[in-house]
Amino acid sequence: MSLALIAALPFLGALLPGLMIRAGRNACAMTTGFVTALALLMLGLHAPAVLRGEVIQTRIEWLPGLGLNANFFLDGLGLLFAGLILGIGLLIILYARFYLSKSDPMGQFYTYLMLFQGAMVGIVLSDNILLLLVFWELTSLSSFLLIGYWKHLPEGRQGARMALTVTGAGGLAMIAGMLILGNIAGSYDLTVILQNKEAIQASEWYLPALILILLGAFTKSAQFPFHFWLPHAMAAPTPVSAYLHSATMVKAGLFLMARMWPVLAGTPEWFYIVATTGLVTMVLAAKIALFKDDLKALLAFSTVSHLGLITMLLGFGTKAAATVAMFHIINHATFKAALFMSAGIVDHEAHTRDIKRLGGLRHLMPVTFAIALIASLSMAGIPPLNGFLSKEMMLEETAHTVWAGSHWLMPVLATLGALFSVAYSFRFLAHTFLGPVRDDYPHKPHDPGFGMWAAPALLAALVVIIGLVPMTAAGWLVDAAAGAVTGEPVAAKIKHWHGLGSPALWMSVLAVGGGLMLLASHARLDAIWNATPRPEAKRIFDGIVEPLAALARRVTAISHDGSLTRYLAIATVTITALGYYAWATADHGTGTRALTPIQTVPAIGWFLLVVSSLALVAFHRNRLLTLVLVGVIGLMVSVGFAYMSAPDLALTQISVEVATVILLLLALNFLPKTTPVESSGGRKLRDGLIAAFGGTGVGVLIYALMTRDFAFPSIAEYHLANSYKEGGGTNVVNVILVDFRGYDTFGEITVLGIGAIVIYALTEALLRGGPANDRLLAWSPDQRRAGDRHPLMLVVATRLMLPVALIVGVYIFLRGHNMPGGGFIAGLVVAIALVMQYMASGFAWTQARQKIDYHALIGAGVLIAAATGIGAWFNGVPFLTSDFGYVNIWPLEEFELATAALFDLGVFLTVLGAVMLALASLSRIAIRAGETINVDAFDIHPENDGPRTEPATTTTEAR
């Protein structure tokens, strides 16, 4: 449990700074530091056991189904890294307290820092590679926040994004690699995987897994060719740079390579990939560092170079090299963190990090100079400092390493790297601190307060101590860590003097001498460097990402350009093509069902239907004519239903068709009356082909279906058999609608009701104000209008027809259960009758004479239908279970008292309310468009003169 707690502490601690900042900056920093110190303390309590060679484990089940568990373990490697992370973390917290200015949100900073710290500790303590991945990605995220901490700096934002992109990509690759690894080992637990070296290295998936995992490690550790993001991450505040880019995050990659070393290392693939990458990175980055004028950039490339060095050592795959790697990790962490902090102090005091504007600070900032002196000499590998020790050992290792048959390549290049290292180290020191004091610093520098230099000073002290007494100060830790990496006991022998026969000595001498010479000629080389065109990382990165983003933008904009016609064309083609594909890839025997003979009059009806449909294509620009043709088609479809034994369908289709046409006419009043010619000939041809393709498919499909029998008896047979007996009606269609499948009908009327309230709400939105309302207010008809709004003959005829139609509606409603009809058709009939009244005397005139609220009709309709269904619950039977009986309340008509009839009443009311509410909404739009309201039923009254109207505002608008 306690290991999990160590990992969790920083996360818990991340909650505090945001809170504690209210108590002041000191309190905030102290709380943060306290949490870190606590974690460090807990780690320290485990240290003795670990140093004895024990492995401490904590297992918590999290997602066992996947094999992802919160399992932690602590061994020497973990101890080394966790110690570095927490220890340097503590120093960084201290340093940051003084580094951050008053305007920087410190709470935020510490929160991010703690998140990051937690993620790092998590990585190094994970005993489950999936868990490790979780923490791995968390470091990417939290470092993204830290690098972008100064939001106002574009470099910060870009650097953060670049870091996230590169390390994120590596992380994703690593996910794949880890999953493969776990799959080979049969577990995602590290301790299990680490015991499966043979299985893993023998697997055909070894190389892919290796590459994928190394992608993760290399990107994180800024190895060539992924080194470019690190310098740009330097836009972060210096504490961040010091922490992330010296001690921790970039070392996560190294940690991972070390962690996986037992199972992945030792193969030629490993050697050539890892060692070569490390070597190239070391030399290349060191060379670049030499020419960087920004102190932090110089240190950044130096870091890359040193990471390359360690990577190379790990790549060698030998126990000795791995041991050196561990030692250098410690050394690098100490001197590089100190250097970053020094650079931060310089920046903080002089207000510049540009090496060309500095120099002579030795006199102004003696303390800082002392720290920087120690640290940079160590970086240069000058004895007796710790950097010298590990560099010497590294050179020694290279001297024994054969690369592709060449004995000299490794040592020569390593010496070259060391040479550059000496050069940039001295340059850092000399050009910043040595030389005469200048009078043109942006800000007059002097040493900061103790708080700020305490941390680097402590690190510098460590540099010296480890350098002087390496075995005492660090040997035990190196042994423990290297032992964990190699899986064998290690007893490192760290010495200053290996004798004159040691090749490392001469390589070292060469490096120092060459380095100094290089520095001497730096000015000239710098000129050449600046004159040489070379790839610039940021530009390359931008050159990749920006065009990709632009491409993505273009692709998205072109593919999702808002052209519904194209979307629909794609959809139609896809549907049809897949339909044909499905059809063509399986058996379809010929249908054996006897065909129904064709009679003449139905054939004529077919002809009318087909011709009108085709005419629709030809004439669709004339919108009124379109509606007339739709009328013909609707008529033919309805009568076709009637002919083909579907009287209910005929009734429904024709009434719906009329209601639809009326709606369309109402809308068309405001719409353009013609459709302009917009499609090219090719476009029409294309659409025609798509249409023909789709139409043919549908036709063929239904023909194939109609000419064969059901493969299994249809459930409709049950409906026919039980409609009267169990459903109490002879019109089976109606019984299905209100009983067998009454639930469908319940949904269906709800759809209608919703449709109506959608229309109502939309109307409200349109009339509320805004362009639509303005357009309506400014609206005037686009066609000449006849003088007679409410022709007398229609008004009079309607007075008679309305009652007749209503009684027909009642009739159709009541008979529905047994004969064609029912609530839905009745609702439409009544609605159409009311529409007739509207057409005759106008909407408002009619509306003023009735008190029904259409909203209420809809609500009541749905509620009645629902209540009918719920009523069944009280009988202990399911929703919508009907009950019926023929009731003969003398002397009334024998009628059926079925709950289904009540349900049908709900249907009736909803339909009526929905249609009327929709029409009413359209009328309100017309009224807003300046429609006046007539006082009389008709305009021309033979007994008085002329039409009388009033503006709409004086009358209640439609509900």
Binding site: T572, R593, A603, I633, S645, P672, G695, M706, E748, V751
Partner: protein, 115 residues
């Protein structure tokens, strides 16, 4: 009859598809209406065609009936598509009133950039 019905469905579908590929709301709506005619007849026909046997039970005669279930399904489908048509008609009108044109494509403004 099967051939007539199938071809009629095919033609209505084709016309519907052609019209939904037009660039103004009105023909698209008409095209959708055509598609819904077509699919209604399609559902109906999927119950097979029987002339002269409406699904109204006749107590006095031993007779066969046409498939009542598909008819009920068509009824539901008709009603639903009516509701849908009403909504889209209104929305098309609203869109026309808001924007001043009845194009269905939004290509003039490729990205819904505004809040």
């Amino acid at each position: 009859m099967e051939l007539l019905v199938a071809s009629a469905i095919g033609v209505m579908t084709a016309v519907g598809i052609y019209l939904i590929l037009r660039q103004r709301t009105f023909p698209v709506i008409v095209g959708l209406a055509m598609l819904s005619y077509a699919v209604n007849v399609f559902i109906f026909a999927s119950g097979r065609i029987k002339i002269g046997f409406p699904p109204i039970l006749n107590k006095y005669a031993e007779t066969s009936y046409t498939d009542p279930l598909t008819q009920a399904l068509v009824l539901t489908a008709i009603v639903i598509s009516f509701g849908m048509t009403a909504v889209i008609v209104m929305m098309a009108l609203g869109s026309f009133l808001e924007t001043g044109d009845d194009r269905i494509d939004m290509t003039d403004k490729t990205d819904g950039e505004d809040a």
